[in-house]
Amino acid sequence: MKSSFALLAAIGVAGLTQLALAADITGTVTLNGTPPPEREITPLNNDPICGKLHSQKVTTEFFVVGPNKGLADCIVMLKGVPAKSADASTPPAVMDQKGCTYVPQILAIQTGQKLIVKNSDPSTIPMHNVHINPTADANKEAYATKISQPQMAGGADLDYTFSAPENFMKFNCDVHPWMFAWVTVVDNPYFAVTDKEGKFTIKNVPAGKYKIECLHRKAAPTGVEKDVDVSGGNANVDFTLEVK
């Protein structure tokens, strides 16, 4: 009895110590140079049904740059961390189809984490079809018979769970060829997507030294790496990407 209590106490202390040693990594991703101008998505805007769902002209969003050059939609993740898939307690990620566009367009999830794809478009758009384009073999095999799935208006959500990491897996709709989203699957829980000001926060990173990588679909498709040390507490890492 006494030994069980001691064991439990030791585990509790270890856990608390771990939490106390965990730190956050924050930072900002900025973009230097002048990105190419965005284009109006004319097929969407001219579509008699989809076009009416938007009050303004819809354009591409390859480079979403804030007033202080902060670059949105960058995936920032730790590398060299032991692989760990999500467990049942991890809340699902959600992607929606609204106004004949995928929302959000850039998403990051963990291996094993459920991704729910909804169709919130009205019944005037009878269907979308969710077509995934995995490149990792395990993901391809898992969805060999479900690469392309129709999703009717008001129909059931589609669920996806990917077991292999990959960057920028493309989701598209074959009914509406301008609809795209890119999902990055990370094999650990330490990742974030930059917001409209280019800022990110990766929480509860265990103490230690790591490589941190920043990816952007256009400006850094293969990633830019830096070193980060969170042994002494919170750390700040900034990235500067360039359009030449």
């Binding site: 190419p36 101008p37 965005e38 284009r39 998505i41 004319t42 097929p43 579509d47 049904i49 591409t60 390859f62 758009i125 009878p126 269907m127 079809n129 077509h131 018979t145 690469i147 392309s148 799935q149 129709p150 493309k170 598209n172 709709c173 074959d174 009914v175 509406h176 060829p177 301008w178 795209f180 256009k218 400006a219 498709p221 359009v243 030449k244």
Partner: protein, 423 residues
């Protein structure tokens, strides 16, 4: 070949079938231009519906192009069955009935799950589809019209068309259920050859083709003159064949480019990224992709795709020169009044149009309608070259036959396709 009576309705039906095939190529071009190849992810059903019962309210976006392509393909299939039966005459009834019955049995076997025809496709639907095709062919075999068999090789060409249209249907279905873009390239290339076949059938059922003396060249006065004239004809024939083959190669290059699903790998014309020959090192390719803003997000550009487009441009130039040479040679050897010269001039006009459309495809950012028109004119260019080649090859044979049939005649012939220009 013996002179047969001209069946004007058969000829008209053959022309209709060729035109329907051209329309099918057009819609198929629109499917690829709009990146709608996978918009209906199942086959032979459409979102679980029987293809012919898919509600029009669901024909939206890319589905409109893909589904109408399938429906028109089925229509062309029906026309081909009827054409095959018509060309084969009453003698073909038995063969058609047997072929149809065999396909129906195959359909039943697939439907029952005894064999798996295409594992990724719905077996019941696939079996039903086979049964349907078989049933139509069987029905054609049971049709009681006791029409005359057409002259060879028309019945054989009809059977070839029947086989090819089914292969085409299968390729189209496989491209969807197997998600293989490479199959799309074969599907596109075979479509062009199929169109050429139908144009040949239309030509050979025509009034002009069935009267050999119209195509016989001026009767030679002596053996030496014959040799010289045929020698000239040989050169022309080789030119037509070689140029047509070059056009077919170009169509394969174009199909390969389109089925990369990478959009335009080079966005300027006549230069390429501001140069005569663009850089294709990894840093340059990364730069092109970084600055690329597309509405339809194609696959990233690769060095291979840039080089492929450059080869396509070079071959286009070669074709222009070759066809221009053919037209000039034809004018020099024959006369403007000669039908072959007129067709060769039309051919040159098509190629010039094709060059303009090619440039417009690049400069418009691969606008779907322009890119599809480029595909269509490409098909017409190939067919025109093939027809010219067939006529050029056929005329010597007809001339020998005409000479053999009317050896006792002394009137000079009227002159025909290969009549030399008067000196």
């Amino acid at each position: 070949m013996n002179e047969m009576s001209h069946n004007r309705w058969l000829h008209r039906f053959a022309v209709l079938t060729a035109l329907a095939t051209l329309g099918l190529i057009c819609i198929g071009g629109l499917v690829t231009s709009h990146e709608a190849g996978m918009s209906v992810p199942d086959w032979p059903n459409s979102y679980g519906y029987n293809m012919f019962l898919f509600p029009p309210s669901k024909w939206i976006g890319g589905i409109l192009y893909e589904h109408t392509h399938r429906l028109l393909a089925s229509t062309v299939g029906l026309l081909i069955v009827a054409l095959t039966r018509w060309l084969g005459g009453r003698e073909s009834r038995r063969t058609m009935a047997i072929v149809g019955a065999l396909e129906m049995v195959a359909g039943i076997v697939v439907m029952a799950g005894v064999i798996s025809f295409i594992p990724q496709a719905d077996q019941k639907a696939t079996g039903g589809f086979l049964m349907g095709i078989g049933g139509i062919i069987l029905l054609a075999g049971l049709v009681w019209f006791r029409n005359e068999r057409s002259a060879n090789p028309l019945p054989q060409l009809g059977w070839l068309a029947l086989a090819l249209v089914q292969v085409q249907g299968l390729l189209g279905g496989l491209r969807v259920v197997l998600f293989k873009n490479q199959i799309g390239i074969f599907h596109a290339a075979l479509a062009q050859l199929f169109f050429v076949l139908l144009c040949a059938i239309a030509l050979m059922t025509g009034k002009w083709w069935l009267k050999p003396e119209r195509r016989a060249p001026a009767r030679p006065e002596g053996a030496n003159q014959t040799k010289v004239k045929w020698a000239s004809g040989v050169l022309i024939r080789r030119l037509f064949i070689a140029t047509t083959a070059l056009i077919f190669l170009q169509l394969i290059l174009g199909a390969t480019m389109r089925h990369q699903h990478a959009g335009l790998s080079i966005r300027d014309f006549p230069l390429a990224y501001g140069k005569l020959w663009p850089a294709t090192d990894p840093a340059s390719i990364a730069h092109y992709n970084e600055h690329r803003v597309e509405i339809t997000d194609y696959n990233p550009i690769t060095a291979f795709q840039v080089q492929l487009q450059m080869v396509h441009r070079l071959v286009a130039l070669l074709i222009l020169l070759a066809v221009a040479f053919c037209a000039w040679k034809s004018w020099r050897k024959f006369s403007w009044r000669n039908p072959m010269t007129k067709v060769a001039a039309f051919w040159l006009g098509l190629i010039l149009c094709q060059v303009v459309l090619g440039a417009a495809t690049v400069l418009s950012g691969k606008a779907a309608d322009i890119a599809t028109a480029h595909v269509l004119v490409g098909a017409l260019s190939l067919a025109t070259g093939a027809i010219l080649s067939i006529i050029a090859f056929h005329s010597p044979m007809a001339a020998r036959q005409a000479a053999a049939l009317s050896r006792a005649e002394t009137q000079p012939s009227e002159g025909g396709a290969l009549a030399a220009r008067p000196t």
